[in-house]
């Protein structure tokens, strides 16, 4: 048998590590695993980076095996998802960081530290990521021996805001944004360090919406979990269910009928269009172009009508299930979809013209919040953010799933790396999604739309990746042979992209912050209550986002 790409990747590691490589296997095309000796993961990852400089890290999955904690570094390397596996003893969970060789891993290591208590030596900023500020130390919720005790007491949050290290130079002002916002999306807090109007640095605090889904998934059956993962995110819910169902189908070796795969493409692309239109509208709002917001959201309603016609629900599609989809497409819905797609294509080309030529948008977006290609690769950003910085990656093409292998579509890539490019990528993607939906409706295979699947799944593990509207979404599922999963790990695209916000915002003006944030399309888009703190006197005053937009923020009440 000819040496495949997967074998070549593994051989690279075998040459470098020798005895340090304990075991290696390829579970299916584009999925390779290597188990390395404790402490060798750094060497393995740097060897991969030497051989394939464009290697990126997707996430780190930790598992509690009882006596040890297993760490899985999921890397995207030369067209293969390579998982580097290493174990650390639970009694002394300490291992070396990889953030110096692959900076995109910084948040994933903090996540593992927060939820499993693994300490990464040499990590520059190993602090809490998701759990609340008053969470008791020494409690690691995702360990198997941890269970939610009877009511952890709630304490008031600390009154002091921010990091004292930032209160250094006299002209520097700290601006705290969040956690509450005016329009949509989740609470999140940012601490901006300003010199006059220029942003010097930003510190992000996430975790306001951390609910503990990964732990809850372990106490629900696979079929119940489909409904739970659907509610990880209300906007890209279809991406989550497709991703989770594919992982379970891989474990159970379920053959999904071609018709179901084609229907999954239709619902996933409808979901992408609705998510992108939502973001483009909000972007219009944030740069002070409210008419555009109203226009785009009006067109978005037609997409939601199609989703409702196809699935029965406007937002939570509840369409995918393990083994296929839950409803077939009727000929009348198919005709409606085709008709509405023709209308939407006209609207999209109009919006493209607006984004290309409108002077307001040009002034507020071009050359703002730049992220260059080398930084984008280093920070391992995903999806439209990566594509706007010249990184040509799309899971639908590079690691095809569902019926994307045969479907014709282009991957729009822009080199500018600014806010404008990030919005244009999405406008172009809406047009591509329309083509994909038309292709899928017209080339719908006949046959069943689902197969019955047993409740119990065999022992095994699977890694599933999906191109969600915001980028690569990853689900890792491990089964222990029962009807309940042993571990479900989810890496959402926003976690991969939020790390790049710091790079984008440095050196730009306060008024650019909303536009830059929204161009990331994080699952939180706007900022509401801004407390301005003068570092000298400790004086605070409040202004809202509207004042921030209209440049009245310096005025004190």
């Amino acid at each position: 048998m000819a040496s495949s790409r997967e074998d070549e990747t593994i051989n690279t590691l075998r040459e470098r590590l020798g005895q340090g490589l304990l075991n290696s296997w390829v579970s299916r095309p584009r999925r390779a695993y290597v188990h390395v000796r404790q402490g060798s993961h750094r060497e393995a990852i740097s060897a991969l980076l030497n051989r394939f400089p464009e290697t990126t890290i997707s996430t780190i999955t930790a598992l509690d095996l009882g006596g040890e904690i297993e760490l899985n570094y999921h890397l995207w390397c030369d067209g293969t998802v390579l998982t580097v596996r290493v174990t650390v003893p639970k009694s002394n969970p300490v291992t070396e960081t990889v953030t110096d060789i692959i900076p995109g891993a910084a948040l994933y290591e903090r996540e593992v530290f927060d939820l499993f208590g693994v300490r990464f030596t040499g990590h520059p900023d190993l602090r809490r990521l998701l759990l609340s500020d008053d969470w008791p130390s020494g409690q690691y919720p995702l360990r198997k021996d941890w269970s939610p005790g009877a009511g952890l007491p709630l304490k008031a949050p600390p009154s002091r805001i921010g990091n004292p290290d930032m209160r250094d130079a006299s002209s520097i002002v700290n601006v705290v944004v969040g956690p509450q916002h005016p329009a949509l999306h989740e609470p999140e807090r940012f601490l901006f360090k300003l010199d006059g109007e220029t942003v010097l640095d930003v510190e992000t605090r996430i975790g306001y919406v951390h609910r503990g889904i990964e732990k809850a998934a372990e106490s629900l059956m696979f079929f119940q979990n489909v409904h739970l993962v659907e509610r990880i995110c209300g906007i890209c819910n279809v991406a989550h269910t497709v991703c989770f169902c594919q992982a379970v189908e891989e474990i159970g070796r379920v053959e999904v009928p071609p018709r179901a795969e084609c229907l999954r493409v239709i619902i996933a692309e409808l979901n992408r269009i609705h998510s992108h239109l939502l973001l483009l509208g909000v972007a219009g709002l944030e740069v002070g172009f409210e008419t555009l917001f109203q226009y785009i959201w009006r067109d978005r309603e037609t997409v939601l009508d199609l989703v409702e016609g196809l699935t029965g629900n406007r937002i939570m599609a509840e369409y995918n299930t393990i083994g296929g989809v839950r409803r077939d497409i009727s000929p009348s819905i198919a005709q409606t979809i085709l008709r509405e797609m023709r209308n939407l294509r006209k609207r999209t080309s109009f919006y493209r013209e607006v984004f290309e030529s409108d002077p307001t948008l040009e002034l507020r977006t071009k050359g703002i919040g730049r992220l260059r290609r080398p930084e984008a690769l280093k920070l391992c950003v995903v999806g439209p953010v990566a594509r706007a910085s010249g990184v040509d990656s799309d899971i639908r093409r590079d690691d095809p799933y569902a019926a994307y292998e045969d479907a014709p579509f282009n991957v729009p890539v822009y080199d500018e790396g600014d806010v404008w490019a990030r919005l244009m990528v999405r406008v172009d993607e809406v047009a591509e999604s329309i083509n994909l939906i038309e292709y899928a409706v017209e080339n719908m295979p006949s046959g069943p739309f689902r197969v019955r699947v047993a409740r119990r799944q065999p022992e095994g593990e699977a890694l599933s990746r999906v191109e969600a509207p915001r980028g690569e979404l990853l689900h890792y599922v491990k089964s222990n042979g029962s009807a309940y999963p042993e571990r479900v790990k989810v890496r959402t695209p926003t976690l991969a992209n939020i790390i790049s916000f710091r790079e984008m915002v440095k050196g730009y003006y306060v008024a650019d912050i909303p536009a830059i944030l929204v161009s990331l399309d994080p699952c939180f888009a706007c900022t509401d209550r801004v407390a301005l703190v003068d570092a000298d006197s400790g004086r605070k005053w409040i202004c809202n986002l509207r004042d921030l937009r209209s440049d009245r923020w310096r005025k004190q009440p």
Partner: protein
């Protein structure tokens, strides 16, 4: 509740709304925002979304309330001027919903602040949210 006729009349005609996500999945949140857009257009009831609690009469709260958000939600409620009303939108905000068993949630908005109207659904349709707010306005008008 304040029973001055003129104030209540004014309040019924223009309830200003603050939206706060206390850990929701965004589904309810985008439906709340959809209320402002041309198809639903709640401005015809005088409803305006406000960015700060100090201007709001009605708090529209979504989400099961995470530990990290609980105190913030309370603080935001306390910042609103009296009389104030709370609408819990979505199954999570009513009872914790699908996240009931998660370790990091408080299971509903009414565990932290008093709730006047519950709008169930996952997510509730925009029509249901409008219905909830209109019911609240009837209550206010007496």
């Amino acid at each position: 509740m304040l029973r001055v006729g003129l104030t209540n009349w004014a309040r019924r005609k223009s309830p200003w709304v603050l939206h706060f996500n206390s850990g929701a999945c965004n589904a309810c949140d985008i439906e709340v925002v959809a209320l402002l857009t041309p198809r639903y257009d709640v401005e015809r009831f005088g409803i305006l979304l406000k960015p700060t609690p100090r201007h709001a009469d009605v708090l529209v709260a979504t989400g099961p309330v995470t530990r990290q958000c609980a105190q913030r939600l309370k603080r935001i409620y306390e910042q609103m001027p009296d009389p104030k009303f709370v609408v819990a939108v979505g199954a999570c905000a009513c009872s914790g919903g699908v996240f009931r068993k998660c370790y990091n949630v408080i299971k509903g908005v009414d565990k932290v602040i008093p709730v006047d109207v519950y709008v169930p659904g996952c997510p509730p349709r925009p029509e249901a949210i409008i219905d909830g707010i209109v019911k609240l306005l009837k209550e206010v008008g007496g």
